[in-house]
């Protein structure tokens, strides 16, 4: 009887389907991912059961942190550039093309207009350090730069893209109500009555009702 040779199975296995799947997923994630821009301030929005989604574009964000500071942000660079020029002209501050370019790259900022030029000259790391101490955009009735930014940005968006602006208030959960109410009131003065409070989704309680 001849010796039975054990059948050696090759240790290799066909990985093609797995690789196919891996690349499919890589492609999917690469195309869908959107890198979070480096915000000037980190806020933790409160949760709500509202499942309304914010639109994709034309979003003006007023960020309110827990130190009563207000930050302004807009998602379109040309609108921001136009708003910068308009607000700068109003307060007699002019900006160099480099500064304007830098400004259009910022996701949001909280600097009074007089300090904005020097803020824009700094590099990213220095700005990050500065963001902790900056006073935010002034929003009291004597020196209300916040409202100027909002109005100019809305105007620029309407002129350039012919679209309405979606105003989002992104408040920190621990921010004080007074600051938020004041911001809302200042905007109401300018006939802006529709606000969207950014919240994180929480499950709706199921037992509500009778």
């Amino acid at each position: 009887m001849p010796k039975v040779k054990p059948h050696r199975t090759s240790p290799s296995l066909d990985m093609t389907p797995m690789v196919d799947l891996a690349f499919l997923l890589v492609t999917f994630f690469m195309l869908t991912t959107q890198f979070r821009p480096d915000e000037a301030v980190v806020v933790d929005p409160p949760s709500s059961t509202s499942d309304l989604q914010a639109p994709d574009s034309d979003i003006l964000t007023l960020t309110i942190d827990n130190k009563k500071r207000v930050f302004f942000g807009y998602d379109k660079a040309p609108v921001k550039e136009a708003a910068l020029k308009a607000v700068g002209a109003k307060y007699g501050v002019s900006f160099t093309p480099t500064q304007i370019k830098q400004f259009s790259l910022l996701p949001n900022f909280g600097v009074p207009i007089t300090q904005l030029a020097s803020y824009l000259d700094k590099d990213t790391e220095d700005r990050k350090a500065l963001n902790k101490t900056l006073p935010g955009i002034p929003y009291d009735s004597l020196n209300n730069q916040m409202i100027d930014w909002v109005i100019e940005a809305r105007k620029a968006n309407a002129a350039q893209f012919k679209k309405p602006t979606f105003l989002v208030i992104r408040g920190d959960g621990n921010a004080d109500v007074q600051t938020v109410q004041k911001v809302i009131k200042e905007l109401q003065e300018k006939d802006i009555n529709r606000f969207n409070l950014l919240t994180s989704l929480e499950m709706k309680p199921s037992f509500v009702g009778q």
Binding site: M15, F29, P46, A54, D176, N193, F195, T199, L201
Partner: protein, 184 residues
Amino acid sequence: MAEIQQKGDSGKGGKKRAKKASTKIDMTPMVDLAFLLLTFFMLTTTFAKPNVMQLTMPVKEKNPNPEEQTKIKASQAVTVILAPDDKVFYYFGLNEPTDPSVPVPEIKVTDFSANGIRKVLLDRKRQQPEPIILIEPYVYDGKEAKYKNMVDMLDEMNITDQKKYALVDISKKDVDLIKKQNLL
């Protein structure tokens, strides 16, 4: 790991045979890279687009005319005061300290839990189908409610399906009433 190339038996038997190159290539580095990228994108991606809660405030009247303003009926009125430290004060009816015919309301204390203000509002709705809810965030003397409380309260309005509610500033008489009842 992946594909071990089978080679080295082409010269067997001395007969020169055309060397057949294997059609398999070593895919390991590529797969490594693919999974590295996959992991990176999976971890960095954020799917959830932020949710928003709509808040529409009334148009500010330039010349408010007190005679045209509608008075809230005492039977409908519910005042909810967002107090500091996540507490909620509420009372039914009106608070008119100057008018002796209006009884002084008693402020009750509750919280944001499911058995707190939500139960109060739902119970009230059964007795009075059309309540008008005034939400007043407490801001006085350095003590104040948090923005989170305001959003929670507006959320309760959606959960309990209230038709009429308004976000207003706290009135002086309500602050006085809270003080008189030693709640803060």
